[in-house]
């Protein structure tokens, strides 16, 4: 069942690729939207049939490279199911958004279908090598999206930087995986066996090195501060749908890696070096927020806020590793907060990037001071962006608040100082979003020179259909979080117990 969910988009992609040239673009886009919708429906089916206390479910395990102990092992649990659902929802949104795409639609659609398969595959993978394969294929897919359809002149340079940077990170990751599998007897890459066997329990230095490799690899992917410089150019040059997926899904791969691989497999060294991750997380929060405050380019500012939100996740995950001074409830609250933050950041930043796409489509530039008083021209667009911005800065009633509240409450116990610094992140994020809203949407009306004579068109139905459901989902999670938390909490409890063992 999971394999069907994972590879349905790939089937569509192959079908489209082999289809005769005569297939018009509109049909390609519709096929993409249909496939994404079908995939989402399947995932909802999975969600309904999912037993929150059942641990890993819908498992499929077939030997793939038996000699190396590599198997095609997929399965879903409380951590990955929400992310898979969010990925499918986001891809459906980008599909709807791209209905009006005009540039080389067929290859654009094939690339995104491929990306969907790879992203879903990564979240359901329970084998390190399978995880790594999907991890790298996602880089390839995103490289072509940015290089091919990026609007800036520097699209190719940005794409190359993005690819090389994250690819180097993935090599470090592979190193870590190999280190892990070698420590296990018999050598295996299967995640569940490695968790059960806990091979690196004793070795201090060896486990530390493996954790360093994993940490660097994943830190490059969730951009934490020292390794984040590939994100802003990649985002400013990527097309709207591309950067929505880049921010919504690809960034989660790194964060998910911490919760799925680093914590359960290296509990001892994770506890010993948790402080490092907490510090990096807090620095990412404050640094990302401050640098975002100083940006003049709207999309680049949002890219930096992504660094901040990922910093929160790292803070929560690091705090969950510190046993002193906290109880299990606080730590599992932090981990739940981290997972919810991944989902909420995916939805909100995805919506924000799609809306910036609309902005660029109409005004031709992302510079904030080129626009003013847009809400008189496009009230619906202004309302949507306003709601997305307020949700992004953590206003209750949206998923952002639920995530950040749990993270901060769960982390304060063990990391008082770090969490207090992270609190300032909340304030700075609020200030920068408000400043952006004030500059662009309120005040007297002024459009950039590049804007067409007809003025600033409001949201077209396809764009509205793409962004409003995302914000709606965020609102539902914000108002009634129990349906998501019931799934995530048991899984985060197990992760917390695994780290504490």
């Amino acid at each position: 069942m999971l394999t069907l969910v994972t590879f349905l988009p790939l089937l569509a992609c192959v079908g489209l690729a082999l289809a005769p040239r005569s297939v018009p673009d509109r049909v390609c886009a519709r096929v993409w939207a249909g496939t994404a919708a079908a995939d989402l429906a399947l995932v909802v089916g999975l969600w309904v049939g999912f037993d929150p206390h059942g641990g890993m479910q819908y498992q499929q395990n077939h030997p793939w490279i038996p000699a190396a102990g590599v198997g095609y092992h997929v399965g879903v649990d409380g951590l990955s199911l929400p992310l898979v659902a969010m990925t499918c929802l986001l891809f459906l949104a980008t599909a709807l958004y791209s209905l009006r795409e005009t540039r080389r639609v067929r290859s654009y659609v094939c690339l995104f279908l491929f990306l969907q398969t790879v992203s879903v595959g990564l979240f359901v993978a329970l084998d390190l090598i399978l995880f790594f394969v999907f991890f790298d294929l996602s880089l390839v897919g995103m490289f072509f999206v940015i290089a091919g359809w990026g609007h800036g002149g520097r699209a190719r340079a940005a794409a190359l930087t993005f690819f090389l940077y994250t690819f180097t990170g993935s090599l470090a990751l592979l190193l870590g995986f190999i280190g892990l599998s070698l420590a296990a007897t018999p050598h295996t890459f299967d995640l569940l066996e490695l968790v059960r066997g806990n091979p690196l329990a004793g070795q201090g230095l060896y486990a530390g090195l493996v954790l360093l490799a994993l940490g660097v690899g994943l830190a490059v992917k969730t951009p934490t501060v020292p390794f984040h410089t590939w994100l802003p150019p990649a985002h400013t040059e990527a097309p709207a749908a591309g950067s929505a997926i880049l921010a919504g899904v690809l960034l989660k791969m790194g964060a998910y890696g911490f919760v799925r691989i680093a914590m359960p497999l290296l509990p001892g060294s994770w506890r010993r070096y948790a402080l490092v991750f907490v510090i990096v997380g807090t620095v990412s929060v404050v640094y990302g927020a401050l640098v975002a405050l100083a940006q003049t380019d709207f999309k680049r500012m949002i890219a930096y806020t992504s660094v901040t939100h990922m910093g929160y996740i790292l803070l929560a995950v690091g705090a969950a590793g510190v046993l002193a001074g906290t109880d299990a409830q606080a730590r599992s609250l932090a981990v739940t907060g981290a997972v919810v933050q991944m989902v909420s950041h995916g939805l909100l930043t995805g919506a924000l990037f799609l809306l910036t796409g609309v902005l660029h489509d109409r005004g031709g530039t992302y510079a904030m001071d080129a626009y003013s008083g847009l809400s008189s021209h496009a009230p619906r667009f202004a309302a949507a962006t306003g709601v997305a911005a307020f949700a992004g800065l953590g206003i209750p009633g949206f998923s952002g608040f639920i995530a950040e509240f749990q993270i901060l409450t769960g982390s304060l116990a063990s990391q008082a100082v770090a969490t207090t610094c992270a609190l300032t992140g909340l304030l700075i994020t609020a200030a920068l979003f408000l400043r952006a809203l004030r500059h662009m949407f309120l005040g007297p009306s002024r459009l950039p020179a590049a804007a067409p004579a007809t003025g600033f068109r409001d949201l077209v139905p396809s764009e509205a259909a793409a962004t409003v459901p995302l914000l709606g989902a965020a609102l539902v999670i914000g108002v009634a979080p129990r349906f998501l938390l019931d799934v995530v909490e048991p899984a985060s409890r197990t992760v917390t117990q695994l780290v504490a063992r």
């Binding site: 410089t229 100083a294 109880d327 606080a330 769960g410 304060l412 609190l423 949407f441």
Partner: protein, 632 residues
């Protein structure tokens, strides 16, 4: 019974959301719908005050979202609903037909729902959620006429300041969890172990002071005045600023438990009451004066919370809510009709609109704390409790009361002057046109009636608080060691209030005409104790500078480092290529050349001359022979 409470919350929030989304589509119907929703909420509020329902829902792991209507919140829920209804009655007058009324009424109802949740919350998460939603709606309402960038900037300042203070609540929640209070229940906070209790208490105090515009944070209230009249009336007089005081009143046990919190809160309240009173006196615009007075009156409530007199604090809150919302509605009405809020320009406004003027006069008198009216009674309660705590506080309170009388009389004096001779001329020279509305037509009846009703409530509430009748009120609020003010205290405060009022009345005509030589102190007070300039200099400007520095650092150093790494890789590659071409390839070519030379040498003996071959053969044989002989 919990259904009643869920309905009480769902009605305003739901109706507000619906109206907000409708926007301009039902512009005509919006006021009616809004009013209906407000009335319904009022009804539900009264019912819930009677039945005291309780409800809770699972929210996070081990944390429930609990709501309960107990003594304190019953009174407040009714008050909030009442003031909301009154303000919404007055709102259509304020807003022109072309305004986006759906959005206005939607936001007002959303705010009312959030306030209701704040006063009924029993655990921290719902309190925090409502607290933040109040901040957001206040941002939206202050910046309602968003065409003017200065209004939106004011809204931003207000929101960021309150949000900065709200971080205290996040801190408190985290501290509670760390301190072992897993359920984050407000009453259980005192049970938090060790330092965490102090951290939680500190967080809560900061959040409350921020929201109630107390001293360090009070400058945002002056910006909040740029919003429409009704907004100031509802949010920035009766409900939002009172929320902080309410929180302190409810958490008095925690304040006492930590030891240092209660006196700190009391003294902050007292000092704010005095300082902001002086600021009010120094103001030239009516709404700024009223805003500063709000801050100072809330100071009294915070003082009451600090000294542990919930009933006095609540009475002060109710009385002040009624009086101040009436005054703000009147000020708003004049702003729309006369197009100005500067006191000298409002000369004789009372005479121009008699009904509205009467309400304003009654409210101002109550605000002055003159004997028979409600605020005087409430203030006495608070001062009595303060005197029991420490005489210093009592003196501070009395001084604040005197200053309160001063600024109320100042407002009264200007407003009640006889109309200047060029009666009609006054109408059209409206100074700053707010929101592009022409202030030509007078305030309609829909504004006057709520003003009068509120003013009446302000006047007669005092009766309820008289010593004889205050028993039931104390019972409702849940008692606590109360100090009924003894007669000599009440007489003393009355005397102080009357003396201050008389002095102000006597002194005002002289200063009104005297040349304006503003002393440094006066200018400092007029500028709200330049708190905003200090905050901007200390926090905002360095933050932006740091942000710019970090951005530059990020682009140059971090990005630069990566690019240098890449460039280093390239030069390394070129070096390797060069080494490969000249080094290894050269060696191989040298070997090849050497072989060629050797080849040439090898051909030399092959001369073609037979005899030379024989010679070589002989030499070769002899060598071989000698080798064989020697070796064997």
């Amino acid at each position: 019974m919990s259904a009643l409470l869920w309905a009480l919350i769902a009605l305003p929030l739901g109706a507000g959301a619906a109206l907000l989304l409708s926007g301009r589509r039902w512009n005509a119907l919006a006021p009616g719908l809004g009013l209906a929703a407000a009335a319904g909420t009022f009804g539900l509020a009264v019912a819930s005050a009677v039945f005291r329902p309780e409800a809770s829902a699972p929210l996070f792991a081990g944390v429930r979202a609990g709501l309960r209507v107990d003594g304190l919140s019953a009174v407040l829920v009714v008050a909030v609903a009442a003031v909301t209804t009154a303000v919404l009655v007055a709102s259509p007058g304020e807003l022109g037909p072309r305004e986006n009324r759906g959005r206005f009424f939607g936001l007002m109802l959303l705010f009312a729902g959030a306030m209701t949740v704040t006063v009924t919350a029993t655990t921290l998460p719902p309190l925090l959620m409502a607290w933040e939603v109040m901040g957001a709606t206040s941002w939206a309402l202050i910046g309602f006429w968003w065409h003017r960038p200065d209004r939106v900037r004011a809204a931003d300042t207000a929101f960021v300041t309150t949000r900065a203070a709200d971080l205290g609540l996040y801190l408190a929640a985290g501290a509670a969890m760390a301190g072992g209070v897993g359920s984050l229940d407000l009453t259980a906070l005192t049970g938090a172990q060790g330092g965490w209790r102090h951290v939680a208490c500190a967080g809560l105090v900061v959040a409350a002071l921020g929201k109630s515009a107390q001293l360090p944070f009070s400058f945002w209230l002056s910006h909040a005045m740029r919003g429409p009249g009704p907004v100031s009336a509802l949010l920035h007089s009766a409900t939002m600023v009172a929320a902080g005081a309410y929180l302190l009143l409810r958490l008095h046990p925690l304040l006492v438990a930590t030891g240092w919190a209660a006196p700190l809160v009391a003294w902050t309240g007292g000092v704010t009451a005095l300082a902001l009173g002086v600021v009010a006196v120094a103001q030239r615009a009516l709404k700024q004066l009223l805003a500063a007075s709000t801050s100072s009156q809330v100071g009294f409530m915070v003082l009451a919370a600090g000294v542990g007199d919930p009933s006095g604090g609540t009475l002060q809150l109710l009385a002040h809510a009624a009086a101040k919302s009436a005054l703000f509605l009147a000020a708003g009405a004049w702003l729309t009709s006369l197009g100005t809020e500067q006191l000298p320009a409002l000369r004789g406004a009372v005479r121009r609109h008699p009904l509205l003027g009467a309400g304003f006069v009654a409210g101002a008198l109550a605000l002055a704390g003159l004997p028979p009216l409600s605020l005087w009674v409430a203030k006495d309660e608070v001062l009595a409790a303060a005197r029991a705590q420490s005489p210093g506080l009592y003196a501070l309170g009395l001084a604040a009361a005197a200053v309160a009388a001063g600024y109320s009389v100042k407002a009264l004096w200007y407003v009640t002057r006889p109309l200047p001779h060029d009666h009609d001329h006054d109408h059209d020279h409206g100074q700053e046109q707010d929101g592009g509305r022409r202030g030509a037509r007078g305030p309609t009846r829909s504004v006057s009636t709520p003003v009068v009703v509120l003013a009446a409530a302000a006047v007669f509430l005092g009766v309820a608080a008289l010593p004889g009748l205050s028993g039931p009120l104390r019972g409702v609020l849940g008692g606590g060691q109360q100090h009924a003010p003894n007669p000599w205290e009440m007489a003393l405060s009355a005397a102080v209030a009357l003396a201050a009022a008389g002095a102000a009345w006597w002194w005002l005509p002289r200063s009104a005409h005297a040349p304006r030589t503003a002393s440094a102190g006066k200018r400092w007070a007029a500028d709200w104790l330049s708190m905003e300039r200090a905050a901007r200099a200390v926090l905002v400007r360095p933050a932006f500078a740091l942000a710019r520095a970090l951005a530059a650092f990020d682009d140059r150093a971090v990005d630069g480092a990566v690019h240098h790494l890449a460039r280093g890789g390239l030069t390394l590659a070129r070096g390797a290529a060069r080494a490969d071409d000249h080094g290894l390839d050269g060696a191989v070519r040298a070997v090849a050349a050497g072989c060629r030379r050797l080849g040439a040498w090898a051909r030399r003996p092959q001369t073609g001359l037979l005899h030379q071959y024989y010679a070589q053969a002989v030499v070769g044989f002899t060598l071989l022979l000698s080798i064989v002989l020697l070796v064997r």
